[in-house]
Symmetry: C2
Subunit: 159 residues, 2 copies
């Protein structure tokens, strides 16, 4: 297990940032399809997708949202964070093998409650913005160092 | 393969609805963790989660978003739909074994473009709203019946 220490509300300042880089694989897309139940062929069928406006299979739009939620839950602010709301604008398609950079920045802190608003921007390796939005979270007020469980490991099997 | 016929913009009317029911399993939560990379222990570690405000492991908030995107991509409007934006308000925790009902309703249709705005509401078996928000999508203008690929099947393996 890896230990992760969260960031508390009193430690956060407007302008604080966190980022994560992730290269999207075909396997990520297939795992997301299984997790979501979304088997739209634009994500899974290369022949179908080649005839769409994208010319290629693309990742599910909501996969970008999932990566934002990963940053919130695992690193910034991390354990103890409660998700209140999220907005997402899907600006450009994400293709297999794209390397995404997910950047979160604190843009507002409530005066009354331990609530932070963070801007979210996801860019690809060509610096094209593929998704942007805003997260609102209840930030932990108590410092904690948490043993993060290993990520469950899944392997694809034949039907 | 199952064939799915999409709904075109000219067929949509304000007030049209679609829904999906889904019982959330522990396996869904573990698969989402693997797909997202989010191993926050509140989702995976029963002992840790028992000491949180929830008293139990909970599903990732963004799993609700994923279920909304599934409805858009697979049934309403279905194949050919392009995701433009999504807002999500996480209102209550989702626990393993909760049966969720995802309801989408058309609330606005653009006069100028084939763009629909849909309200989204997810309720659990006790009729508690766990998530609500709004989707904006580019709706297909051409009718198509599409062979939906089988959902990829994954099985959990030991590390």
């Amino acid at each position: 297990m890896t230990n992760i220490t969260n960031i508390t509300f009193s430690e956060l300042k407007v302008g604080d940032c966190s980022h994560l880089s992730h290269q999207v694989t075909e396997s990520d897309i297939r795992l997301f399809a299984a997790s979501s139940g979304d088997n739209n062929p634009v994500h899974l069928d290369a022949e179908y997708a080649s005839h769409t406006r994208f010319g290629h299979t693309i990742a599910h739009g909501m996969y970008s949202g999932v990566l934002i939620s990963r940053v919130l839950g695992t690193q910034f602010p991390g354990p103890g964070t409660i998700y209140l709301s999220q907005s997402l604008n899907f600006c450009a398609p994400v293709l297999p093998n794209d390397t995404l950079t997910i950047l979160l920045e604190v843009v507002a802190l409530s005066d009354h409650k331990p609530v932070a608003t963070l801007s979210c921007q996801i860019t690809n390796q060509d610096e094209v913005v593929v998704c942007k939005g805003e997260s609102v979270v209840l930030v932990p007020t108590e410092k904690q160092t948490v043993a993060m469980p290993p990520l469950p490991a899944f392997t694809e099997v034949d039907h």
